[in-house]
Every structure is written in C-alpha cells, then in structure tokens.
C-alpha cells in the first residue's frame, strides 16, 4: 500500500519535530539550535495573532499589490489547442516575483522578535532583491550572500540590491553558487545569532522554515482558489509550477493538496538533460540526504558529497528541494517532471509572442511543461500555471543564448 492510500489529508505537516514523513527536521549546529527554537516559538505565536495577520495583509495589498490576477491566457491556450490555460500572475508583484510574499512575512516576524540585522542568500537575485526591498522599507541593515558565478550572470539584480541599500557579499567558497551562498549565510548566522534574522528564500532549511515559507506563499493558492471559483464556478483541474527549492510551487499547491480531483504537477529544471548529469532535478535525478538543516532529495555523489546543480535559470539551480516536496513525491500526491534548458527557452518565446508577457526563465520551465500537457487535454480542462516571475532580469542571458548581441 502506498503512503497516499493511507492518508486522507496532506496538509497537517510538519509534525512537532519539523518532519514531513521522513523528510525535513532540524540538522543544524548546536549554536543555531536555541535560535531555531526561538524562531519557531515566535512564528507559532505570530500566526495565531490577528494583528500580525492584519499587518501582513495590509502590506500584501498596498505594497506588494495582492491579489495578483488570475488571467486566462487565451492566445496561448489557442496556440496549444487543448486545455484552458490560466496564469497566476505573481510576476506582477512588486519586485517582479513571488519572493516578496515570503520576505514580507519574515521581516515582520524579525521585527516582532526585535532582530536588528537581516541576512539572506540568493541565486538568481530575485529573493535577494525582495529581501533588500523589505529591508529598505522597514529600515533594517541587510547582507545578501550571492555566489560569484551568479553575480556574473545576474548583474542587473546585483545592482538593484545595492541601490536598495543591501550589501551584496560575493561567495567564492565551494563552487560559488546558491548552495555556497546558503552555507555562507548560515556561517554568518552562527556568528551573529543575537541580533540577526536569516530570511531563507525557499521552502527549505531547518524547521520551521519550510513550513513558514510555505505558509507565507500559500496566499498564491488561496487566491487562485477564490479567483477560479469566481471565473469558472469550480476548482481548477490541474496546477503546474516550476521548482528549484520549490516555494512558488508549494504556495500554489498547498491549498489544493486535499482536493483529490486536482492534478498537481511540479516541473524541475533538467538543464542539458537529466541523463547528462548537468541538471537541477533533485527529485528526478537525486536521492535523499541531509543538507542545509533538512533531509530531502539532493544531488550528490556516491560518497554523499553535494554536487552542483546546473540550469539556464539561476533561480532553479539548487542541488536540493524543499522537504515537503520530497514527501509529496513519495506520497504520490504530486507528479514531478522536468524540462530542459532548450524546452524552457521555447516556452519563454511562446509566452512572449502569444501573450505579450516576458516570463522569467524559472516559470519558463513550467510553460515548457504546459506546452506538452495542454494539447493532450480537453478544451474544458482548467489548467493553472504559476507565472511566478517576470523575465526582465533574464533578457541578457536569453539574448546570449539566442546569439543576439545587445550589450
């Protein structure tokens, strides 16, 4: 019997120890443990406090611009000739991606805890920009760790963060990418536990982060539910979202996990192809391990050394994935597929040409899968894809890839 057959709910996790099945947990150094427990207590308290909720909703509405529209992508649907495709337009948020939803929640929590300094890691720079933004707005000093390799390929976001007053610290340790940026942020935190709050950007890290980030991102799915009922009088038939760490996907999926009729699909980055070894598909090409405070699927060698992820999208090339996704995979509730760089580029072009929306390379992976899936589905099938980020930041990378010289 599969885990799925034994369960009638998928929304009660994590348990008190932060476990989603065998995944999750709190695998951190002792120095951080008391602080992790403090964050957990503070968050438990905050989520029950109506004043915290009101404050979060106020800024979500007036600063971020929520709710984001649920938009019927008519021309894309026509072009694909199948399902009715809707976009959840989180690329319209202030700062251009879903990342701000989480940053807002965490910085309000940091203020509530009396923390006076913020640190964060970033890959593509979308999370870094969102953190730098809320730090400017709430007047807290901010240090963003970013891999040297990522700094090179995401210059516009590096400049944005600096404009916003953040200190961007290049990370050269390890391989100079997102995983190393997270290592450096954790090292900073260990040395500055008393005044510092670490705003983790995805549904990973030690408990309570996977739960907390999911909760802050769940506004995406909750709005989708309400909006789809308004638009079509029923729930969507399927959901599609891209996955690096998995926060936009978790946010869209979570409010639908207990709706058995809703098919849910997560799309990992297959890079040059999962079979080539150059990819970021932890669930499709990795195995369970322990990194950055939690047990989850990881890209690793036979010896348990972490391997670098690769993707055309800097926001997806993380060698792990949120532990709740690992659990949902094994429980069989969510399907996890992958899309290559080349497929994502096609999705990027298709969306731009048919809808006049330049998507980020991250949701371009979701678009690639929608392009495969939608034509196989009937015209009354309601498919929602999370358009979690806009593509301005990727224009240079795409130009380079397509052989255009715009610099």
């Amino acid at each position: 019997m599969s885990i799925a057959e034994k369960l009638n709910t998928y929304t009660t996790g994590p348990d008190e120890q932060g476990h989603f099945g065998r995944f999750g947990g709190r695998f951190v150094a002792e120095t951080l443990m008391p602080l992790i427990l403090e964050v957990e207590r503070a968050y438990t308290d905050a989520r029950r406090d109506p004043a915290f909720k009101r404050e979060l909703e106020h800024y979500a509405a007036h600063y971020v611009g929520r709710p984001s529209p649920l938009y019927f992508a008519e021309r894309l649907s026509e072009a694909l000739g199948g399902a009715k495709v809707y976009f959840k337009r989180d690329e319209l948020n202030h700062t251009g991606s879903h990342k701000i939803n989480n940053c807002l929640g965490q910085i309000l929590l940091a203020k509530r805890m009396g923390k006076t300094r913020i640190i964060a890691e970033t890959g593509a720079g979308q999370h870094g920009v969102a953190v730098a933004t809320v730090c400017a707005r709430f007047d807290l000093p901010c240090v963003v760790y970013m891999g040297e390799t990522d700094i090179e390929r995401q210059q516009p976001n590096v400049f944005r963060m600096r404009l916003l007053g953040a200190e961007v610290k290049p990370v050269t340790s390890g391989t100079g990418t997102l995983k190393d940026a997270m290592n450096e942020a954790l090292r900073d935190w260990v040395a500055n536990v008393e005044d510092t709050f670490y705003i983790i950007g995805t549904v990973a890290g030690p408990h309570p982060y996977p739960m907390m980030v999911r909760d802050f991102q769940s506004v995406i799915g909750q709005e989708t539910r309400t909006q789809m009922l308004e638009a079509e009088g029923r729930l969507p038939d399927s959901l599609v979202a891209c996955i690096g760490g998995g926060s936009n996907a978790m946010g869209l999926f979570y409010p639908f996990l207990d709706e058995p009729e809703v098919r849910i699909v997560g799309v990992e980055a297959a890079g040059k192809g999962v079979e080539t070894g150059e990819h970021a598909a932890s669930l499709n090409g990795g195995r369970p391990g322990v990194l950055h405070g939690n047990r989850t699927y990881l890209l690793q060698t036979d010896d348990g050394q972490i391997v670098d992820a690769y993707s055309i999208s800097a926001g997806l090339d993380y060698p792990g994935i949120g532990p709740e996704h690992s659990w949902l995979k094994e429980a069989g509730r969510v399907e996890y597929v992958s899309a290559t760089d080349a497929e994502a580029l096609e999705g990027f072009k298709l969306c731009t040409r048919t809808e006049g929306i330049i998507p980020a390379l991250e949701p371009a992976h979701a678009l690639a899968h929608v392009a495969k899936l939608a034509p196989t589905l009937p015209k009354d099938h309601l498919l929602v894809m999370n358009l979690c980020g806009r593509g301005d930041k990727d224009v240079f990378a795409v130009a380079k890839r397509l052989g255009a010289d715009i610099e």
């Binding site: 695998f27 002792e30 008391p34 260990v190 040395a191 990194l291 010896d303 348990g304 972490i306």
Partner: protein, 282 residues
Amino acid sequence: MSDAAVATHLAQTRLEKRFADLKAAGRAGLVTYLTAGDPDAATSLEILQGLPAAGADVIEIGMPFSDPMADGPAIQAASLRALNAGMTLAKTLDLVAAFRQADREAPVVLMGYYNPIYSMGVEAFLARAVEVGVDGLIVVDLPPEEDRELCAPARAAGLHWIRLATPTTDDARLPRVLAEVSGFLYYVSVMGITGTKSATREHVAEAVARLRRHTDTPIAVGFGIKTAEAVREVGAVADAAVVGSALVERVRANLDEAGKARPGLADDVLGFVRELAGGLTA
C-alpha cells in the same frame, strides 16, 4: 567520569582511560584536528602516525564534506583539498584502520557532517567504524533534536557520542545537550565558525565553571585556539584544548604551487604539535 566510577568501570574505553590518565597526571590534554586525506592520503597517514609521539592526547580526524557549514575558510579549504585528492568516507575509515595497525592506545574521534554517513548507511558506517577502532563521533549537524539518527545507534554500537555545547546553550537547554554525551564534552568557546574568533580567557573560565556544575564529563574547549600560549591558558581551566584550523593552516603552508605536499610537510606539522603540547606539562 568520577574517580569512583573509573574504579568500577572495568571495561574502560580508550577515551575514558586517556582522560583518567591525564587527570592522574594532573595535566590537561591536547586534542588535535586534521582533515582526513589532506593534502593526500599518504601524507595524512604519515602525520597521523606521528601525532601520539608529538603529544596529541586525542586525535580528531575530519571526515571531508563538500558543504561544511560550521567551518571557517581554513577547514573548508582542507576539506576541498582532501576531496580533490580523492578522499571519501570509506577511505577515511581505511585511514583509521591503517593508523590502528601500529597504535592501539591513542583515542581516535571522527568529526564531520551527517550526509556522507547517511549516504553510506548508518549501520554500515558504524560497523566499519567499530571494526577499524574509532572511539567516538562528533557530528556537527546532529543536535539532540536529531538523536534518533545516529547518536542512539552509535552509542548502542559502543562508540562515544561527543556533543558540542556553545555559548548559546543556556542552562535550560544544557541538560538536554548533556543527556547522551559521553567521552568528553566539546565546548565551542565562540559564537561562530572554526578558525576565526577567539574567546577571552575569562569567558572560557566562566563557561567551563558553568558546565562543571552540570556534568562530570571531561570538557575540551575548542575554536580559535591557535598557539601554545592559548593551549596553556585553556589547559589551565579545561580538561583539554582542541586545535584544528591552525594545524590545517600548517598543512597548507607546506604545499607547493600545484597544491602538492612539499618534502617535510609531516615533520613540520608534527613539530607544531610538539610546540602546542609543550604548554601542557604538569
């Protein structure tokens, strides 16, 4: 462990015997940390074999990991050097086996992160660790909250579980940290990563006094201890001083431009160990 306990504990382990002997001799011990396979397996073994004679009382061997999140630049670099030279967890255990062929006395403690162990399989790892003569484990990313993972099976297999206590481990939390500790308690004297900041003498003395109110387990103090003078100061209040990054830096200082060991690397590192141990005579 108290004197009475030592007397009644017939099957005393190597680690317990070492701390009992140190106590009898009226001096503190020197715990040395070096990363397995840094800069290569042969040199690493050569250093290890010389450590007891050079004055190391307890030998910590780092299990290299690609993402050592609690370590500073020195030990990060050592890990990468070892991994680039082909080191693995299996070969780390082989290294201990090779060391044990000539030395049955010196306590050996493996220190590192959980993932390589989890990847090998807890059962297989513990069986091999016991077989080759490992005495204890320090796994940085396994706090008491995750004791079911490795602490419980390791203790059942007869290995010591050496816990880290830090300045953030307050009196309310301390009993939980001490509950399953055995062999010795490793006090991390600074909030931070290895090889960076150093604690003041006053902080160390106060912290050790606080820990002693809670436990009889020997207390080793580490992080930021880089000189014979610092070893002497820590040795005056704790049961042992741990030196890691400074030793690893000594390895690095003896590499040529291609990152290979220069002749005399092991002798130089062992000379430094002798110098560090010199401060601890009774």
